[in-house]
């Protein structure tokens, strides 16, 4: 489904990428990830599930270039560095800039000319009122802050988006709304979504991997039929959620 409006649609076609860990990965003497190769499909949402400590965030940080070890190859042969936007569990809004200023943080940090018009359009697209643009993060609710963080991620206009449990800090109804918003606005981009919420993965993802074993390796799972965001009341999806939950609990 193409995104509504023109602002959030990225300019370049999104490449896929592959994370390769020929030696696995560990912290000190403790191995966390087994030797693995993970393919993230171009222009799709790939969800990565796993228990706490299974190394899913580590894998995401490797993809983002925040930690070294292993290789990350984009499918178009160019470097992935500089084509990645990052969205974390915490909103990471800086308290000294208002919502609008936070959306434009990347431009500010790179010393580029801030594009306030685009930032305002994006804030409207994630569902914030015009008056909210001038509010400080402390004046916004948790759900609104996460919306601003989503707008900041889209403002970067990168073909690849890496998300680390982006909606886990908000309440369930807000999470539900944010998932629909994200699925709509991120359409066409290559997304790697780390989550511990089976429902989130089943609603949003085109592909699902579960990190299993110790040291962990990704195992591919099937996804329910239909394009994301899938409705939460779909019986097939709910059955898959129960199965996935049991699988995660057993691991």
């Amino acid at each position: 489904m193409p995104a509504k409006g023109t602002v959030s649609v990225q300019s370049a076609p999104a490449p896929g990428f592959r994370i390769e860990l020929p030696q696995g990965f560990g912290f000190g003497a403790t191995p966390v990830l087994a030797p693995l190769s993970l393919e993230v499909a171009a222009g799709r949402i790939t969800a990565l599930l796993g228990a706490s400590g299974s190394g899913k965030s580590t894998l995401l940080r490797l993809a983002a270039g925040l930690i070294s070890g292993g290789t990350v190859q984009a499918s178009d042969g160019q470097a992935l560095r500089g084509r990645v936007a990052w969205m974390a569990q915490q909103d990471l809004l800086v308290p000294w800039r208002d919502a609008l200023g936070n959306v434009m943080l990347g431009m500010h940090l790179r010393g580029e000319r801030p594009d306030a018009a685009r930032a305002r359009t994006l804030l409207a697209e994630v569902g914030l009122a015009e008056a909210d643009a001038a509010k400080s993060p402390a004046q916004l609710s948790g759900g609104m802050r996460q919306r601003v963080a989503l707008a900041r991620t889209l403002m970067e206009d990168r073909p690849v988006v890496l998300m680390d449990e982006p909606f886990s800090a908000v309440d369930a109804p807000t999470r539900h709304r944010l998932q629909e918003l994200a699925a709509r606005l991120l359409a066409g981009r290559t997304v790697l979504l780390v989550t511990h919420d089976p429902l989130e993965a089943l609603r949003l993802a085109d592909r699902i991997f579960v990190l299993t074993g110790s040291p962990a390796a990704p195992v591919a799972l099937g996804v329910p039929a239909g394009a994301p965001p899938r409705p939460a009341r779909d019986p097939a999806l709910l059955a898959a959620q129960a199965e996935l939950l049991e699988r995660l609990a057993a691991a």
Binding site: G65, L92, L109
Partner: protein, 251 residues
Amino acid sequence: MMRGLLAAAGLVALWQGFVWLTEVPPFLLPSPGRVAQALAARWDSIAGHALVTGIEMLAGLALGALLGAAMALTLTAWRGGRRWLLPLLLVSQAIPVFAIAPLLTLWFGFGMASKVAMATLIIFFPVATAFYDGLRRTEPGWIDLAQTMGASGAATLWRLRVPAALPALASGLRVAAAVAPIGAVVGEWVGASAGLGYLMLHANGRSQTDVMFAALFVLALMALALWFTVDRLLRRAIPWQPDSLLSGRDP
């Protein structure tokens, strides 16, 4: 504010009562009335000395804050210099100011310069350590975000870590404002021809205890005024600092 005035009034009443009851000789403890008389009678001279001490305090505060902030930034930005500068920072605090006061007077003379140097020295440490601490404790998520946004090291320092450390710098400046009078007065005790510290020493030598108390009273007022002014200015300049947020929410 009201409570502070009441407490002060209570203290004065206690003092007056003590003088009445014990009939202590005025050269040991003058009554509040005598001190007020001395203050009125010697106002011109006391005001002149207060001006000297005030300038020393303000100049020391400005210079100490500037040098302290510069030291913190250097320690943060210059990895190689850290192991050389950190001991220097500690030494600057390990040597008691009283011990080097005669030396500073010898080097900088009996005028204002030696007192400003003393105040600078005493203010430098709290500002440098508080700001350096703040700079070291930037939220790691912000650093990750800046890195994926392609921010340079300099931009990350100036546009992310420095604003993030401003509340810490503010606490350092509050401590600095509280200790600034100590630096100035210690300097005046060791050797001076003007200032409230000099006046107190001079009055003490002639058993003019009431004048000494009057000078002390003015010094305390100046210290309080300095602290409240600095606190006010900092709150206005850094409205997002956590404590002002809390006090804003409290009923």
